[in-house]
């Protein structure tokens, strides 16, 4: 738009929006700073016990001291396990959903089992998984997989079954085979379903990995948290939680970035 053509009202309106955005961001930053400052000061004056609550400055020191407590290695382990669990859960889930879409009979047969498995807290399977696959990384990955798999199946199957019936009918009038309907109508119609399950799964896999590490591990952020708790090293626990939060945010944001890429491509 031409700059001279912008009316005064428009300018005020645009400024208003900009101001509001800035205000929201500033408030958010202020909350974080205030929270950290209050925590630090209250701990300094002994109003809260920094031994059990830790303290921002102590977390900072722990962070800087990466090498002595092997933080990086633990971080790497957790990330690796999460990514493997995430990818296998998503791919396997989508493949099973396709299979169930293909066979109405199979889908009806498996329905009650899926419902039960879905509502079962998967963490309860932890001990069983450890016995079956051994107490190590495989167990943790299986745990992450078990948490994300069923949800992926159900959500994708739902999406597939919700594909516009008219579009499927249209393809049928040209004599489309079931495979053609799958690849040319159902799958492209469900791109947003796929992306949604990516978003959900990244969080769920992390839950699976951390609870798995609580149970079995000799490494990973989950292990650090449990270990830190047992030896009353709350600085370590808080630092691990902080890193975990950042990792989760980065993983989620990368899925969002991927989503934007894909949506741009297909419009």
């Amino acid at each position: 738009m031409n700059k001279e053509n912008v009316s005064q009202e428009r300018k005020t309106y645009l400024r208003k929006i900009k101001n509001r955005k800035r205000k929201i961001l500033l408030t958010q930053i202020a909350i974080v700073i205030l929270f950290i400052a209050l925590w630090e000061i209250l701990a300094d004056y002994g109003i809260i016990d920094s031994f059990i609550m830790s303290q921002p400055s102590r977390i900072w020191h722990t962070l800087l001291d990466l090498s002595s407590n092997d933080l990086l290695r633990h971080l790497g382990i957790t990330c690796l396990e999460t990514i493997i669990g995430f990818l296998s859960g998503t791919i396997l889930g989508i493949l099973i959903a396709i299979l169930l879409w293909w066979s109405d009979f199979l889908s009806k047969v498996s329905e009650p089992f899926l419902v039960v498995l879905n509502s079962l807290p998967k963490v309860a399977l932890g001990p069983v998984i450890i016995i079956w696959v051994g107490a190590g990384m495989p167990a943790i990955i299986v745990m992450a997989l078990s948490i994300s798999l069923i949800v992926t199946i159900l959500e994708n199957l739902n999406g597939f079954l919700g594909t516009d019936k008219e579009k499927i009918k249209m393809a049928k009038t040209f004599g489309a085979s079931k495979f053609q309907i799958l690849t040319k109508i159902v799958i492209p119609s469900n791109i947003s379903t796929f992306i949604n399950s990516l978003k959900v799964n990244i969080g769920l896999s992390l839950v699976g990995v951390i609870s798995g590490e609580f149970l079995v591990s000799k490494g990973g952020l989950g292990y650090l948290i449990v270990y830190g708790g047992q030896v009353f090293q709350l600085d370590l626990v808080m630092t691990s939680v902080l890193i975990l939060g950042i990792v989760a945010a980065i993983m989620y944001e990368s899925v969002v970035l991927l989503e934007k890429r894909i949506l741009k491509k297909i419009k």
């Binding site: 009918k169 049928k172 040209f174 109508i185 492209p188 419009k267």
Partner: protein, 255 residues
């Protein structure tokens, strides 16, 4: 004129948990080449079912369907089908939408592509070739859907309430548009509609069905005795309201 479609003694029963529903009593009629015929009937009488059966999308209980004298079974490549919604695939460009049928049938040859290209040019869609459906108006989309159907060179077109999803004004324009294209391409058409005036304005003959179980009640020949017939000028003819009243009474719309 030779016979294009013949429907012989088609019946249809639905099996439901709470019993059997007879949808179609033996139905027969025939359509000549180049004719535009409409099927009308009280709502829920099974006219869309009949169309689906002719298209091979639904199984029938008995009866035969002949196209150009040849018996057809299942989904025939001789039939083009247009649905209520344009069902354009929004992730494909217009070009990839209009060639969808060719792609599905595995006949996306240079020759066929050239034919589609020609259709696009003739009906002024060429410039939108690389656009996406969301960038087109409702009327344009319907035209694209028609070209997608014509691309596979069907002998007969079945229109299933093809215009009823459009708002009134667009609808009037689209019917005119589609009518001209169909006449221009000399296509035989069987259209199902619940709109009496739409049927009168477009058809050469109108088949009136009874309420369920449907059978052919009467077949009317519509002749406006004018050259350059067009759905719009038909509506202005004094004969229009006469036809309308006859058909209205025939449908026995009781409240």
């Amino acid at each position: 004129m030779s016979e294009m479609l013949r429907v012989e003694n088609i019946t249809k029963k639905y099996q439901a948990k709470n019993g059997e529903i007879e949808a179609l009593k033996p139905i027969h009629f025939a359509i000549q080449e180049g004719e535009f015929v409409s099927l009308i009937g009280p709502s829920g009488c099974g006219k869309s079912t009949l169309l689906s059966i002719i298209a091979g999308l639904e199984p029938k209980n008995s009866g035969e369907i002949f196209i150009g004298g040849e018996k057809v079974q299942g989904i025939s490549p001789k039939i083009g089908y247009m649905l209520q919604k344009d069902s354009l695939l929004e992730w494909r460009t217009i070009w990839n939408n209009v060639t969808f049928g060719l792609e599905i049938r595995g006949i996306k040859t240079k020759e066929n592509e050239a034919y589609v290209e020609e259709l696009l040019k003739k009906y002024k869609i060429s410039e939108f070739k690389d656009k996406y459906p969301s960038q087109l108006s409702g009327g344009m989309r319907q035209r694209v859907a028609l070209i997608r159907t014509l691309a596979v060179k069907p002998n007969i077109l079945l229109l299933d309430e093809a215009f009823s999803a459009l708002d009134y004004q667009t609808r009037i324009m689209v019917t005119k548009d589609i009518y001209h294209i169909l006449k221009n391409e000399n296509k035989t058409v069987l259209m199902v509609t619940h709109d009496i005036s739409e049927a009168i304005s477009m058809s050469d003959r109108i088949i009136v069905l009874t309420s369920r179980p449907a059978s052919v009640k009467k077949i009317h020949t519509i002749d406006f005795k004018m050259q350059d017939r067009d759905p719009l000028n038909c509506r202005q003819s004094p004969l229009f309201s006469e036809y309308f009243n006859t058909l209205w009474k025939e449908l026995e719309v009781h409240e």
